[in-house]
């Protein structure tokens, strides 16, 4: 830009290629959906799989969003994040079972109240657990990645064993609340009610999170902190305190994701969080470290890809997301929408 333009403040428009490049990750989701439509001959099957993929993606997003901010803000790699998923699932499912009369009643209102109470309990429990986890396990190893990996994996193992002690070593099977069972028919496709609820919850949470990050001061601090934590402190903000808030919120969201995933699978196990961490890490990496938007798009891509490939070529389903990870990283080595600078 010229000196005169610098002084006068002439608005510089980004070149078209740059603007398209920014938009490209957002376009990937509709592109994948259209590729799915072309590859799957039956429209009703495609619709069912798409809703299923979106529901799965939303749940993974809920579990992963806190982790990406935790990494972005304080450069902390928390392999123990899966513990919050498992504990959230067990707490939520225990409460749902205790509220059997409400969940078994053919009343949507009663079912939703029971679900809300279960989610609230799971989020409260995992928030408290997240606070303790940060204080006892994460805080002593700030800035030391290898130690972070070792102690957070250790924390995960301890929590899984504690779950076995409290709830027993067996998996717990459950049924969804009465009104969330079954499916509705749309355009000849059977769409599971619970999956539609999961899509709605995920969408509301994403919009709420975006609003908080863009419209509130704490959101501004978090976004700025992910980009340059040192400068945020130099402005006068206590980043450690903000980090604890984000860690606790991320743990609570993982707890919520755990309840939702448990209801989706209709079974909960102590190791479910650990198993989910593979998908969660894929989403965080392809989304770009520290980016909630990238995490959201990445989660949808993973959910859709898994469902489409499982239908078209079941043997490839397990490695489809690894393939997605490889392709995305070859295209954008720092993920689709990285916020954190390469370290």
């Amino acid at each position: 830009m010229s000196e005169a333009a610098d002084r006068a403040g002439v608005v510089r428009r980004l070149p078209l290629a740059d603007r398209l490049s920014r938009l490209a990750p957002v376009l990937l989701v509709p592109v994948l959906v259209l590729v799915g439509l072309a590859a799957i001959s039956s429209t009703s099957s495609w619709l069912t799989l798409t809703v299923s993929g979106l529901a799965m993606g939303m749940m993974i997003f809920i579990m992963a969003s806190g982790l990406t901010l935790v990494f972005g803000l304080m450069d902390v790699i928390n392999f123990g994040h899966g513990a919050f998923i498992s504990v959230g699932a067990f707490v939520g499912v225990s409460l749902l079972m205790a509220l059997g009369e409400m969940t078994g009643a053919p009343s949507l209102a009663l079912n939703l109240v029971a679900l809300f109470l279960a989610v609230l309990a799971a989020m409260a429990a995992t928030a408290v657990m997240g606070w303790a986890f940060e204080r006892v396990i994460v805080r002593p190893v700030y800035g030391a990645h290898l130690k972070q990996i070792l102690v957070t994996v250790g924390g995960l193992i301890v929590v899984e064993q504690l779950i076995a002690v409290i709830w027993g070593p067996e998996e717990i099977y459950l049924t969804r609340p009465e009104m969330l069972k079954g499916a509705v028919t749309f355009a000849g496709a059977a769409l599971e009610r619970y999956r539609l609820v999961a899509v709605a919850v995920g969408l509301v949470l994403f919009l709420a999170m975006r609003w908080v990050l863009r419209r509130t001061r704490i959101g501004l601090i978090v976004r700025a902190g992910v980009e340059d934590g040192e400068m945020v402190q130099a402005l006068g903000y206590r980043l450690r305190l903000v980090f604890v808030v984000v860690f606790v919120a991320g743990s609570a969201l993982a707890g919520l994701g755990g309840v939702m995933w448990g209801l989706y699978q209709e079974v909960v196990t102590a190791g479910m969080g650990e198993e989910m961490m593979i998908l969660v890490f894929i989403v965080v990496i392809i989304g770009g470290l520290g980016s909630v938007e990238g995490c959201f798009i990445g989660a949808l891509l993973v959910g859709l890809m898994q469902n489409y490939v499982a239908f078209l070529e079941p043997k490839l389903a397990l490695m489809s997301n690894i393939g997605l990870l490889v392709v995305i990283l070859m295209w954008r080595p720092q993920g689709m929408m990285p916020v954190v600078k390469a370290k």
Partner: protein
């Protein structure tokens, strides 16, 4: 003589296994502008970062308003009234210009009068108010960086090479803004390689070499003595 707003005594700082500052002694007078000069790599930026608490001093004392801040967290140092403009500008490129400024007003909403004064000094910031800071040019980013430090009343400004890499016309805009800040009675400690700017703004100068302050005195004395400049910094300063 009034107590200095900032004083460093015997400050030593290590980065990894290397000692970068070997006992820095420095004072910034209340309402004065002290220029921190010296060759590249002598510890000027490290001195500012140590004052801000980004790097911890191993030894010595750093007093701000007479209070030792050597162990204070960075946020507490900033809240004690220190505005910091780092060498890399520290702009949040993902945030808009407005969001950068809102964030800089730590104690509450942005003061409209103050903001108008900032717009007068740096007109592009008004134009780009809603644009992502990452789309600004280098000069505009530097304007934002200084404007952000001015978003609230500060008692001391630490400014690291504000004119580095800027076109001459932008340098004069920057110098005018800093001169205005000085007129308002701000105390400033500034690292500057552009000697014309340093001479125009500085009341006193401190020259560093090998992690120590090796000369302090009036800026006018240094500006008028080319032999001294050559001895301290190895070259005659441009614009001297």
């Amino acid at each position: 003589m009034p107590e200095p707003i900032l004083s460093l005594s015997g400050v030593c700082t290590d980065i990894a296994q290397y000692r970068i500052l070997h006992g820095v002694d420095l004072e910034v007078a209340r309402g004065g502008v002290t220029m921190l000069l010296g060759r590249n790599g002598v510890g000027k930026t490290t001195t500012l970062r140590t004052i801000m608490g980004h790097w911890r001093a191993r030894a010595g004392t750093i007093r701000l308003h007479g209070r030792d801040i050597i162990a204070a967290p960075t946020a507490a140092i900033a809240r004690a009234g220190v505005g910091y403009v780092p060498e890399g500008m520290g702009i949040f490129s993902d945030l808009t210009v407005e969001e950068n400024m809102v964030l800089a007003a730590v104690s509450g909403p942005l003061d409209r009068m103050r903001l108008e004064r900032i717009f007068e000094a740096f007109p592009p910031l008004r134009t780009f108010w809603r644009s992502p800071a990452g789309t600004l040019s280098g000069g505009q980013k530097q304007m934002l960086s200084i404007a952000r430090a001015m978003a609230e009343e500060r008692r001391l400004y630490l400014i690291d090479e504000p004119t580095k890499g800027l076109a001459p016309a932008i340098v004069s805009t920057m110098a005018a803004a800093l001169r205005n800040l000085k007129r308002q009675g701000a105390s400033i400690l500034m690292v500057e390689q552009n000697f014309a700017v340093a001479r125009a703004l500085g009341d006193t100068a401190a020259v560093m070499d090998d992690g120590r302050v090796v000369w302090t005195g009036a800026m006018a004395d240094l500006a008028g003595d080319t032999a001294l400049q050559e001895r301290l910094m190895g070259l005659r300063m441009e614009g001297a």
